[in-house]
């Protein structure tokens, strides 16, 4: 028995760990550091209908225990991704989460149709939450109705399961989650980055050329945990959790909160070997926690003993 195996709609994973979209490129760079076939899955960089350069530089800035990025969905466009990037990942034989973005419904649908038909793509991840693109994305991510409509449209053109990636920059995350669940989403990815900014004292201007950027890294972990804790009790589709994971203990914390799998973003930049390191540490941690199979931990913070936990 593989104690780490997790099976989700469209994703048969030998462990719950995947690199997060945008933090892994299309895998080439990390393939120089380790054998990618150890991964549970891999989420590739957002694809848009056309090639995008993204935002001007500087695109990253550091914050306390976190970083801001405003890459702006740079990518070579969906066609080139299918031709040039996906084939590279083939030999590793891991489920691929294809992240899709756009500024209009039609763009999303075009990309969804194309990518879902690619044999290597296991599921789509609908990015309705990129905070760094002016024309679009973010309003899909903050209005439940718009998000639900988009989800429906994408579902109707996709031959693969669709996970919707939620933005944390909302008043009511459960409402968003329920709306896309009702619209047919097969799963959720959460959280994307928090909107943030840093100002340079010398220039007196925002450090990022785009002014605002997405905050990621350990700083946002408590926000992610509370949102997953809440949403996992509000919906019945599985959640791929992410936001500040840097170690095996964090993975367990996300699963106890209610995540069924865990994506690792920013930490890849800090340590390119973080994914395989975490994967190798999980069994020992399960032993230590007296857990037989990692799936037993999913939602463990609220599933049983709801009342005793309140009483302390």
């Amino acid at each position: 028995m593989n104690r780490l195996a997790i099976s989700l709609p469209g994703l048969d994973m030998k462990n719950p760990i995947m690199p997060a979209s945008g933090c892994f490129g299309f895998g080439r760079e990390y393939a120089g550091f380790y054998d990618l076939s150890v991964l549970g899955a891999a989420a590739i960089k957002a694809a848009t209908a056309e090639a995008r350069f993204g935002n001007p530089t500087p695109r990253v800035a550091e914050t306390h225990s976190g970083m801001l990025n405003a890459i702006g969905l740079q990518n070579p466009g969906v066609d080139k991704i299918m031709e040039k990037e996906l084939p590279f990942l083939k030999s590793y034989n891991i489920p691929i989460v294809a992240n899709i973005a756009g500024s209009r419904d039609e763009d999303y649908c075009e990309v969804a149709r194309k990518l879902s038909s690619h044999p290597q793509v296991s599921v789509l991840e609908l990015n309705i939450s990129c905070p760094n693109v002016k024309e679009g994305g973010i309003q899909f991510g903050t209005d439940p109705k718009t998000a639900a409509e988009l989800t429906k449209k994408v579902k109707s053109v996709s031959s693969k399961p669709v996970y919707v990636k939620l933005s944390p920059n909302v008043s009511n995350i459960s409402e968003m989650a329920k709306a896309v669940e009702e619209a047919g989403a097969d799963g959720l990815s959460m959280i994307n980055t928090l909107l943030g900014m840093r100002i340079d004292l010398k220039t007196r201007k925002p450090i990022l050329a785009n002014k605002t950027g997405g905050l990621s890294g350990p700083a946002i972990k408590p926000v992610a945990i509370r949102m997953i804790h809440e949403v996992s009790q509000a919906v019945s589709i599985p959640i791929i959790g992410m936001g500040g994971v840097t170690c095996a203990e964090d993975v367990i914390e996300f699963m106890l909160a209610g995540a069924s799998a865990v994506a690792i973003g920013t930490a890849n930049f800090v340590d390119p070997l973080i994914c395989p390191d975490i994967i190798s540490k999980l069994p020992e941690l399960l032993d230590h926690m007296n857990v037989n199979h990692i799936s037993e931990l999913i939602g463990g913070s609220w599933k049983e003993c709801e009342v005793p936990s309140l009483s302390r």
Binding site: C23, E29, F33, T57, P58, E62, G217, T266, F269
Partner: protein, 257 residues
């Protein structure tokens, strides 16, 4: 390119806020190309979170020792300056593509132009070029006498001209002033420094062919995050190069500065 814990051999302040850090480790054996850089964690905590890119300044392959020079500026380099002999540093490298060494035949002349903390990678380059029988002329620009470093080291491998913004050492002004006032004869230009300097060179020495080493704020340092891209001259608006993995060294004129 690998990740390794290297150990600090020595660290000293050699000019105002300029530190010379020597580290030792197996990974140093891979560092044969001047212009490449390393990416280091300066703390065990996530403060700061990201690694810091620092150029390879010199390498002793026999003792597997890497020399880096850096300016203590913000939080990261301040922490780096506190490292003591024997401390271990998590280093990723060597990264990127260095200056092509075989672009010049024996007997040719290279003009090396460095500004401030752009000077370090040129030292390893100068040594390698000299070893290949190439004549090296170095023009090094600093803010002031207190900020200048490695003059003697460069003098050991060729002729050296210094400029300082305040005139406290060498010629008063910028490296471009030195270049304009001397009419150097050279075959290729190699330069590293702040982008204002590189832009000035591009404009004021328009005929020059050679290589520029660029800087850009980095996330991953290995090509995965798309933080460090530049537009390509004459390319499509969506064309780009990544400073970390396609550079940091580019042929002059290839990228939009």
């Amino acid at each position: 390119m690998r990740k390794e814990m290297v150990s600090v051999v020595s660290q000293k302040e050699i000019a105002r806020n300029i530190f010379e850090l020597k580290v030792k480790g197996d990974v140093v054996s891979d560092m044969t190309s001047p212009g490449q850089f390393v990416h280091m964690r300066v703390s065990d905590s996530f403060q700061p979170l990201l690694r810091r890119p620092i150029s390879i300044c010199d390498v002793d392959l026999t003792s597997q020792t890497l020399t880096m020079l850096y300016r203590k500026e913000g939080a990261g380099t301040s922490l780096l300056s506190e490292k003591k002999d024997g401390d271990m540093i998590d280093l990723l490298g060597p990264l990127g593509n260095g200056f092509p060494l075989d672009a010049l035949a024996e007997g040719k002349t290279a003009l090396l132009v460095g500004g401030g903390i752009g000077v370090p990678p040129l030292y390893y380059l100068a040594k390698q070029l000299q070893k290949r029988g190439i004549k090296v002329i170095s023009v090094l620009g600093f803010q002031s006498f207190e900020d200048a470093f490695y003059k003697e080291k460069f003098e050991a491998v060729g002729e050296v001209f210094i400029s300082t913004a305040d005139g406290s050492q060498g010629c008063k002004g910028f490296v471009t002033d030195v270049i304009k006032s001397h009419s150097f004869t050279y075959d290729l230009l190699y330069s590293c420094g702040p982008s204002v300097m590189l832009k000035a060179l591009e404009q004021q020495v328009p005929s020059a062919s050679g290589y520029f080493s660029l800087e850009e704020r980095m996330g991953c340092g290995i090509g995965a995050c798309f933080a460090c891209v530049c537009h390509v001259n004459g390319g499509l608006p969506s064309d780009y190069v990544k400073v970390c993995s396609n550079g940091p060294v580019f042929p002059i004129g290839e990228v939009v500065l």
